[in-house]
């Protein structure tokens, strides 16, 4: 089977062969090669983009694939981040090998608790409840002294994580590649989940929950598990964010922050694998450019982009990209 395909591929004109690899080459250049030659503040932006790509992809699992519109996704992100920050602040534990699993677990645990309450209701109420629960967490981080660095809001001055290797110290670029590796692992895992029977079932639930039940699927259980997985990945993104940003505050649990993965998913294309990644790239880079020229107007721009995207670009950028891709490869490639 594979050798037959290989023979087929070799027979095609060289242009065709090359065209097939363009997206991978482009991806490789953007993600792997380019950052190495950029100035360090831009490397930081790349790191931010990859972290948010994980965050947005986690959101798409529950929104794009399962069809649950939930608000307050930042709660799981923030929970993971705060867990790691608190470990560093109060216990001096900065080991990466402990921080990452803790962040994932806490993110999953918060999602398990919130999901249990929220899944008691459906539709618009579900939205309300996920939102209100996230706000609960927000108000806790705002008010409880122990959750903040002394004398301020949030936790600051966090060190880079300890890899356990004595001679090693982080640079902007090494942190980026580290985050990239984690991202690629996450992407692979999500890819598997999406294409597994479980992932198919989620989409079935999105389309028609009553039918899924009569087919033998315990719809509630699937939604609950998806919620927890989402929380785990979001928590992981939160940990990486703390390692990168070295600061976390209640803002990162607030509703405005919850909005970011949603807009990334919508712009990039929901229910796809790479849509959220593309959306994250667009938003983070537009934010960066806005910060150079009109930083105070960024929320306005963000809101404007979002409204326009919802009104006119329903499938998200990735649909248009994949259509464009089909046209190009058809013309040049005979795939």
């Amino acid at each position: 089977m594979a050798t037959a395909k290989l023979k087929e591929a070799i027979k095609q004109p060289w242009r065709g062969q090359l065209i097939r690899f363009v997206p991978y080459i482009a991806g490789g250049i953007i993600l792997v090669v380019l950052p190495a030659v950029l100035p360090s503040y831009l490397q930081g932006i790349w790191t931010k983009f990859v972290i948010f790509a994980i965050f947005a992809t986690s959101y798409d699992l529950i929104y794009g694939h399962t069809g649950l519109l939930s608000l307050g996704h930042a709660a799981y992100f923030g929970a993971g981040g705060y867990a790691v920050a608190l470990l560093m602040l109060h216990y001096g534990i900065d080991s990466l090998w402990l921080g990452i699993p803790v962040g994932i677990l806490i993110g999953a645990a918060v999602a398990a608790a919130f999901g249990f309450i929220a899944l008691r209701v459906s539709g618009m109420y579900f939205l309300l409840v996920t939102f209100a629960l996230a706000q609960l967490l927000f108000s806790i981080t705002w008010n409880v002294r122990w959750l903040n660095s002394p004398g301020m809001m949030g936790i600051a001055g966090l060190p880079r994580p300890d890899l356990g290797i004595p001679w090693f110290s982080w640079s902007t670029i090494s942190l980026y590649y580290f985050v990239l590796v984690i991202f690629l692992i996450c992407l692979f895992l999500i890819y598997r989940i999406i294409n597994s029977p479980f992932g198919y079932a989620l989409r079935g639930i999105r389309e028609s929950e009553p039918r899924m039940r009569s087919l033998g699927y315990n719809a509630w259980l699937y939604k609950y598990i998806a919620f927890i997985i989402t929380g785990a990945f979001a928590g992981l993104a939160g940990v990486l964010f703390v390692y990168y940003n070295r600061f976390i505050s209640p803002t990162h649990i607030g509703i405005m922050f919850s909005f970011l993965p949603m807009i990334m998913v919508i712009i990039g294309g929901s229910g796809t694998l790479l849509g959220p990644v593309i959306g994250a790239m667009i938003i983070i880079f537009v934010e960066y450019f806005a910060s150079l020229f009109t930083p105070e107007r960024w929320p306005l721009i963000l809101g404007g982009i979002f409204v326009v995207a919802i009104m006119y670009a329903r499938g998200g950028v990735s649909i248009h990209l994949s259509r464009l891709w089909e046209k190009v490869s058809y013309r040049y490639g005979s795939v």
Partner: protein
């Protein structure tokens, strides 16, 4: 052997008595049609049998087991399969995806999170076989919302049968179909083995007489007649209710 039995099944919605004290039993392998005017409670009966709604009172036994409070998905594992009056296929998913999801429903592999769906060769083969039988294999990558209504009905009915259920609940399977398409449905039901019990709600008398050996008549939530097609056709109470229907043999208009 008894496939299922209802005892005093009733369902009230506020002041509306959708079903009142319905009791009957069905043996394994029987093909039974449930008929009655609109509002008689036919779909409500299905919703109670399949677990979408809880009864106000009464009990349901499935192969001897009391399933009155059992969840829908559990009943599917016991062997129930149901089609819906309004097509409820997954319209934004492909024909093949619809089939695979259906086939996984009663398998343990439905919880598998890591292995890609298309590596389940056995299920893929089964899907191919089934889709080829109903002439939809070529359209397997089409989104369900893009195939014709008749094809969707055919797919839904075939999928209901695909999981090899013990009890088939078909709610208006020929609703909206031409007589040729309706004949396809009759075919599918005839090809079923004698282990499969079929309960059918229909307005289409051709389908009813073509498939059922026994007819149950509901009227305002009450079971008023239960017998062979000949007995039902001769029953004066049924004639009274269906006065209008005699002019309307063949496909029903508005359901």
């Amino acid at each position: 052997m008894e496939a299922f039995r209802t005892e005093g099944l009733s369902k009230d919605f506020g002041g509306v008595h959708a079903l009142s004290n319905v009791s009957f039993n069905v043996e394994v392998g029987e093909h039974v049609a449930i008929i009655g005017p609109n509002g008689a409670g036919k779909t409500t009966l299905f919703n109670l049998l399949n677990g979408q709604l809880p009864p106000t009172s009464g009990r349901i036994y499935f192969f001897g087991e009391d399933i009155t409070t059992m969840s829908t998905h559990h009943r599917a594992h016991l062997g129930q399969s149901r089609s819906f009056q309004i097509i409820s296929l997954f319209s934004n998913l492909t024909v093949l995806d619809n089939t695979l999801i259906t086939l996984h429903g009663t398998k343990r592999s439905r919880f598998q999170m890591f292995r890609p769906t298309n590596t389940y060769k056995y299920l893929l083969a089964k899907a191919q076989e089934m889709l080829t039988t109903i002439a939809l294999w070529e359209k397997r990558d089409e989104l369900v919302k893009n195939i014709s209504y008749g094809e969707q009905r055919r797919l839904e009915t075939a999928l209901t049968v695909a999981s090899e259920p013990k009890l088939l609940l078909l709610d208006e399977p020929s609703c909206g179909l031409t007589s040729a398409e309706s004949a396809d449905i009759t075919d599918i039901i005839h090809k079923l083995g004698r282990d499969i019990t079929v309960l059918l709600v229909a307005h289409d008398m051709d389908l009813v007489f073509g498939v059922a050996e026994r007819i149950i008549v509901l009227h305002y939530g009450h079971l008023i007649a239960d017998g062979t097609p000949e007995e039902i056709q001769a029953d004066p109470r049924v004639k009274e209710i269906y006065m209008g229907i005699e002019e309307n043999t063949g496909n029903a208009t508005a359901s």
